[in-house]
Amino acid sequence: MTPLETERLLLRAPLPGDAEGLAPMYGDPEVMRFVGDGRTLTPRETENSVRRTIETWAADGFGLFTAVRKEDDALIGRVGLILRNTETWQTAHAGETGPTELEVGYTIARPFWGRGYATEAAAAARDFGLDRLSARRLIALIIRGNDASENVARKLGFEYERDVRFGRRNAQLFALER
């Protein structure tokens, strides 16, 4: 997988060593407030998450990229495409039946907030979904109150469609159709 390049960032397939650089982000309650079930991850859980992402790439040919800032090689977060089962909204893989949606997901570590990195990276992920994966519809799942993420979704052309139950919480489903 050739990395995707944007003006300031490189989005590349994940490597096992990424866990170390990503652990502070996944351990940051301020970041994790609106990710998954809202819980922070331990370094071990982050390692598992990176390993699963590597497996997803190997099986499906797409997944979450590791976002790297070009100027200093800093790992700024993870951005990419997640296939979700539309009943449970859990991640789905080749090997599952039933309807799915393709989500553009983005999580950026706090030191890198406020500079448009999420928008820049998520736009590249959106284009990867539309052009490389030939998706006709993409979604973004945003926990209510996560205004920063909602702004990114709207800037990318996503529109609010409905609320869905996401784990124990409600999420707003934003969608983009070509």
Binding site: A94, T97, D131, A135
Partner: protein, 183 residues
Amino acid sequence: MRLETQRLLLRPPEERDVDGYLEVYSDPEVMRFLRSGASTRDEAAVVVGRMRRHWERHGIGLFSVVRKRDERLLGRVGFLLWDPGRWVNAMREDLDGELELEVGWTLASEHWGRGYATEAALACRDLALGDLGWKRIVSLIDRTNAASIRVAEKIGETFEREIVRPELDYRQGLWSLGERIDA
């Protein structure tokens, strides 16, 4: 040509299938992964006509899949020939020369998850590699179409490479069973 499996009857499409196909092609879950469908009865009739023409020209094609217990049309499963240089299929153009044989499946989403596609595709695979004498079959599938990828794996196909269908300007994955012709 007809095939029979435990629960299904596979036969070439007939004019009377048009309404059933209109139902399949107006299903948004189906159309997420198909590039050309039908939203009116006339358009569905055109699709049925293309399938019938493929049968007439090549002696093989996509079967209408009928459930035996209630004679309901579930969708289509069967064969489609492709020009492997341009990835154009024989329902769009008249093709000659060395072609790839696709085993393809499209069922209305209300019938997903019951193994019907796998059951029908297995019968088609066995026919292709057996009596029809093909050494290789392929399936063109969107990389995000998890349900279809599962069927491909169940009939023994594995991911081979990404292909580009230039006339539609989109990419799909090629799953295959058997050795690559140009390899």
